[in-house]
Amino acid sequence: MQLNHEEKAMLGGEFGPVAKAAIEHQIKVGTFFGATDFVEVSQSHIMADTESLGEAGVKWLEFLAGHSLKDRFVRIPTITDPRGTDFSKAHVLKQTKTMLTLEERAIAAFTKLGVSMTDTCINYQTIMAPILGEHVAFGDTGVVIYSNSVCGARSNFEGGPSALSAGLTGRTPRYGYHQDEHRRPTHRFRVHYTPKTLNEWGSLGGLIGRKSGNYWTVPFVEGLQGIPGSDALKHFGAAMASFGSNALFHLDGITPEARIYGDFGAANLPVVEISEADIRALQDSYRVTNEVDVVVFSAPQLSLIELRDLAAICGGKKFTKPLLAVTSPQVKPDSDRMGYTKSIEDAGGTVFSGMCFYQSYAREIAEANGWKRLVTNSAKMVNILGGYGYVPMLASMEECVDAAVTGRLS
């Protein structure tokens, strides 16, 4: 890779050992992908829950944080994805002291590194949405696909070590979605049904992700009626990234690059037709039982509007099964202030802040609480939780709330 004067100085250790280790890691990754140089980034976002980090990962962070202040501090705004717990409600999940101690250590290390503990996977709704053409280094696949597609920003999936490296160096290798040539559509989909609910948007995203194949494929989607809202595209993109590992999509006449460049030549691609029945079939494929142990709203964290809608449905109900709703530390105070949290918790639910269900030791809390059959309106989550031993089922927000009342999916 071609390095400028500053990058050579980092590699030579003039910016300290932490920046040197960071740029060495980035050069390994950049060289693998044939990057010729670095691109400066304006923000970094780190996924680093302690279930993923483990003891080894936390020790590594503590090692970095043990360097002098001038050597260890991030150079650009660097924020975090959800943590593995909400400390104030960890007892509801039956998380152990060991889990919480590891979380505390990770938070202490990140804070020493100058990382802002935002603990959110909806930073594009709550912190600072990137703008068209802005180069960023974002972790969390849902954050990346939304930022690339809906905002028109430029990021690859940056796993924790790479996102932290980007924070420490202020740059990232220029490959993949930082380059124009990778942003053109590779697959074309014609949709004959515009989803109405968030679980349907997730199902459509998951279906397109599954059909398009891998990280390097860019779906161009036509046929949608109207302009979807932010929460709809949040679920659509998160599910697509989860099922297909996609990092970018274009919606005909809707997303910014499709508005600027039209179909990008997608008209020459073969069309894959998607019907309402296809969307229902994906959802129905998870309906293997009617019995429900737990209801979860998470992945991505809920926006204030989702909490408002959930609160309205919960009003006057009494749950017989746990209902867990997860949001960001930025949204939670507003939810409290506006009475949404109270409506949900008066019905027997629990609203968590700053965590994500599947990043919170999902296997261990399932065993501790006897949870196996889980219902959610997040297509992303049903795709993930099978590997954790759950039987996850996908349903609308209303059906999920009803399941919390009756213990059964209708």
Binding site: H25, K28, V29, F32, F33, M47, A48, D49, E51, S52, L53, G54, E55, A56, G57, W60, G139, D140, T141, N156, F157, E158, G159, G160, P161, S162, G176, G213, N214, Y215, W216, A241, S242, F243, G244, S245, Y358, Q359, R363, N383, I384, G386, G387, Y388, G389
Partner: protein
Amino acid sequence: MSTIYHANFGMGDTIEAVCLAASDGFSARYDLDRIHGKFSRPAHKLYGQDYHGKILVLDTAKGGVATAWMLYEMKSRDVYPAGIALNSVNPILVQGAAHAGIPMLAGFAEDITTAITSGKRLRIDPKTKTLICLD
């Protein structure tokens, strides 16, 4: 007689091990019981198989960003794949392999998951970007 498969991308040190191969994706979070070292997603074609010390031959990297941390954590407990060979790769697996020091090859001219079957002894040579079937 050995058979050689050429990759477009390679990283890490040369290693030899028996492989697990399947036409399926890979995500450490979605697919693995990392404590016990087994594929744990029921729908995965390698469900129930032990992966420790094996070279994984799979189609593509799937899912989220957690794998970037998890490979390092798995290696610290000595329950990790010896190497990874994929038809196509996403940045997360590359970043994770770079962080953990796990050899990796990706981008083959043919579908590597149908060319190689589980149980074969393989050599990953990232410097020459070759995957060699030794059986």
